[in-house]
């Protein structure tokens, strides 16, 4: 898999920390591999919306990658609850259903961006840089590739 210039946190130069939320183990592993190529760190994983909320409270990740359809609580509802408590939360919805109603619903409830599956690493990388804004910086680092 292609390596990207590592995206670090501007405030301390540490890797961006991610919470990956998807009920598919395969999808979580796939996203985790991409995160590694971005120089990021998977702080935690969750398989449903309820767990995502508790894991967000516990880990305070820089970015949440959130699936939509999951058991117990769907991703859009979980995103809304997280943003209500933490308006600074950066949540990127990752779903195979990319029609307008879904995207608008997610953005209206506090998600910062939407990426359609199958996820292209270069697309997700650009979204991560955009969502991190000035709180992230892309810089060459040892082992981060080109």
């Amino acid at each position: 898999m292609e390596q990207f210039v590592a995206v670090k946190r501007s405030k301390d130069g540490q890797p961006v920390r991610y919470l990956v939320v998807d009920d598919s183990v395969f999808a979580r592993k796939n996203l985790a591999r991409m995160i590694e190529t971005f120089g990021g760190q998977v702080a935690g994983e969750a398989g449903d919306g309820m767990t995502a909320i508790t894991e967000y409270e516990r880990l305070k990740p820089d970015i949440v990658l959130m699936d939509i359809t999951m058991p117990q609580m769907e991703g859009i509802e979980a995103a809304e609850k997280i943003v209500q408590q933490h308006p600074e939360a950066r949540i990127v919805m990752v779903s195979s259903v990319g029609y307008q109603e879904n995207i608008v619903a997610a953005l209206q409830r506090g998600a910062r961006h939407f990426v359609q599956k199958p996820v292209k690493p270069e697309v997700l990388y650009e979204v991560i840089k955009y969502v991190m804004g000035e709180d992230g910086t892309a810089a060459h680092a040892a082992g981060a590739g080109n």
């Binding site: 395969f26 699936d67 195979s96 599956k117």
Partner: protein, 181 residues
């Protein structure tokens, strides 16, 4: 990837405008995941009960369009596809092989739903389930199954689609949201 109905497929209730988004989505998802082009090797109608070939994931859809879609790979191909998607060799018995086939189905159907929704069709997509029985439901006279065989560099992937346009649905009943992931 534009397909035209074969002589066998012509004259049936299956509408190619409903099917084409699934073919395009499967082509795109497989090509990206496997990092190699795919081609449609065969397209046929199936009137008999579905017979599973290996590792199969089934997704039901309800609403303006009703029916089911099955993605089916023989065990060896499923293992190679899952290993390619995972970026590492997986053991044949690995749960991740079955997970990958379900996620593959989810991505194909989700992308097709996106296209069909943009065309004005509204329906609900149910979560993928692993299809474990040897036989599936028999096609009915108004929902014959269209079987599309995709050739990839590492084996064949079968898309078995049995869908029909639900003409009885009133427009207000169609306001359902897609539920693929």
């Amino acid at each position: 990837m534009e397909l035209r109905p074969t002589p066998q497929a012509r004259g049936t209730e299956m509408r190619m405008d409903l099917i084409q988004p699934f073919i395009n989505a499967a082509d795109a998802v497989l090509a990206q995941g496997l990092q190699s082009p795919t081609s449609v090797a065969n397209l046929s109608m199936e009137q008999e009960a579905y017979r599973r070939k290996g590792v199969a994931a089934l997704i039901w859809v309800t609403g303006d369009i009703e029916g089911r879609i099955i993605i089916d790979l023989d065990p060896g191909t499923a293992l190679r596809v899952a290993s390619r998607f995972a970026g590492a060799e997986l053991p044949e018995s690995d749960e991740l092989v079955r997970e990958t086939v379900c996620e593959l189905a989810n991505q194909v159907i989700g992308n097709a739903v996106t296209t069909l929704n943009d065309q004005g069709f509204h329906f609900r997509v149910h979560p993928p389930v692993l299809h474990t029985s040897e036989h599936g439901p028999k096609s009915t006279e108004d929902t014959e199954a269209l079987v599309i065989c995709f050739d990839t560099a590492i084996g064949s992937v079968f898309l078995n689609i049995a869908l029909r346009h639900n003409c009885t649905r009133a427009p207000e009943q169609a306001a359902t949201v897609g539920h693929a992931k």
